[in-house]
């Protein structure tokens, strides 16, 4: 009589199986859940030579990059291993905080900030829809080689903001004996 009242085996096992399936599913969900920091990671925007790359409030066109053993600007000159990048940049929607304050070159895991020793595009105030153009200079170790990534942003704190990225093959760069670091000016002459 007692055995007759017991629910069938499947109905007794079903809740346990369902519970176990939920635990396994939760484990997969936890695995697939992005880390907290993902919410404010920068948004990289890949730039190609001569083509505008548009981020949230920054549009950049990288015109060219060369390697030089000497750079100059006005009466200033410096010898070394330099990478000089010619860029044009403009703001998109707001001039508030729209200066090119973050320009760095990542080489082999190391970060090199654009030189402040000459007047260049670094810290240049940008206009909406009207490009400013000039140079950015990076002094690197003599043995710098491989792929470098130029990162440009409006603020050194790039959390939840776009970062324009341009890949440079240091080994394939044209080499110039000297190169001028050009101060920012309107990309198109008045």
């Amino acid at each position: 009589m007692t055995a007759a009242r017991r629910p069938p085996l499947l109905r007794r096992i079903a809740p346990w199986a369902l519970g176990l399936a939920c635990v396994v599913a939760a484990w997969f969900v936890a695995l697939a859940t992005p880390a907290d920091t993902v919410a404010w990671e920068p948004f990289p925007v890949e730039a190609r030579t001569g083509e505008p790359a548009a981020g949230r409030n920054l549009t950049v066109t990288v015109h060219d990059a060369v390697r030089a053993t000497s750079v100059f600007s006005g009466g200033w000159r410096a010898e070394g291993t330099w990478v000089v990048v010619d860029v044009a940049a403009e703001a998109v929607s707001s001039e508030r905080g729209a200066s090119l304050t973050s320009a760095q070159l990542i080489v082999d895991g190391r970060t090199y900030r654009a030189t402040e020793r000459a007047e260049t595009m670094l810290d240049e105030r940008l206009s909406i829809g009207i490009a400013r153009r000039g140079s950015l200079g990076f002094e690197l170790p003599a043995d710098a080689a491989g792929t470098a990534v130029l990162q440009l942003a409006l603020n050194p704190d790039t959390r939840a903001d776009s970062v324009i990225e341009y890949r440079i093959d240091l080994d394939a760069l044209p080499v110039a004996a000297e190169r001028e670091l050009v101060d920012a000016q309107w990309a198109e002459a008045p």
Binding site: S93, S94, E95, R96, A98, R125, S127, I128, G129, I130, W186, A187, E188, A189, P190
Partner: protein, 182 residues
């Protein structure tokens, strides 16, 4: 059939399930939309708190009496002699300020596009070939020469941008006045 047997008669399986889970389902039906609503309202409030809301919006061609001064009407014109690349224009915004009870504090916050992309321009643009009128100021002076002051600022904008409004911060509490422009 006895009455005891009638009471003990099993309900159908589906009916039992609904009786057991009805309350939980009802709670779910109420709590799910409530959660979405609460989170949505919270996000909306955060967004709205951070938005810039002008204390007063002054239609084009009109002025406002506030903080002991009569401000406006604001005029805009192209900066003569400005050397700019093709596709750009320099816009000068001029704000007459009639001081009625001594000096006030004021400064232009931004030029805003009131339609389309709603872009925002800051003051402080340097425009080669143009200089501000000699008797104008970029902010309200703390020691004005007389009771009439002219605040004049320049912005570099792409041709075709607009229509515009000029944001002015006035008084010790920086009240935001938005002057619509023609």
């Amino acid at each position: 059939m006895s009455s005891r047997e009638v009471l003990a008669a099993p309900a159908s399986g589906r009916g039992r399930w609904w009786r057991r889970n009805g309350a939980a389902l009802l709670a779910l039906a109420l709590l799910l939309p409530a959660s979405v609503g609460v989170i949505g309202v919270q996000e909306w409030r955060t967004n709205n708190t951070e938005a810039v809301v002008p204390a007063d919006t002054i239609p084009a061609g009109e002025s406002i009496r506030t903080e002991g001064a009569l401000l406006g009407p604001v005029a805009v014109s192209d900066a003569p002699g400005a050397e700019l690349p093709p596709g750009a224009r320099a816009v000068v915004a001029t704000v007459p300020v009639a001081l009625e009870s001594g000096p006030i504090t004021c400064g232009v916050s931004a030029l805003r596009e009131t339609d389309g992309e709603r872009r925002r321009w800051n003051t402080g643009a340097s425009v080669t070939g143009w200089s501000a009128p000699r008797d104008s100021w970029t902010t309200c002076p703390s020691e004005p020469d007389g009771s009439d002051v002219v605040v004049s600022v320049v912005f570099v904008v792409p041709t075709g941008a607009g229509p515009f409004a000029l944001d002015l911060l006035v008084g010790p509490e920086s009240r935001l006045l938005r002057f619509e422009l023609d």
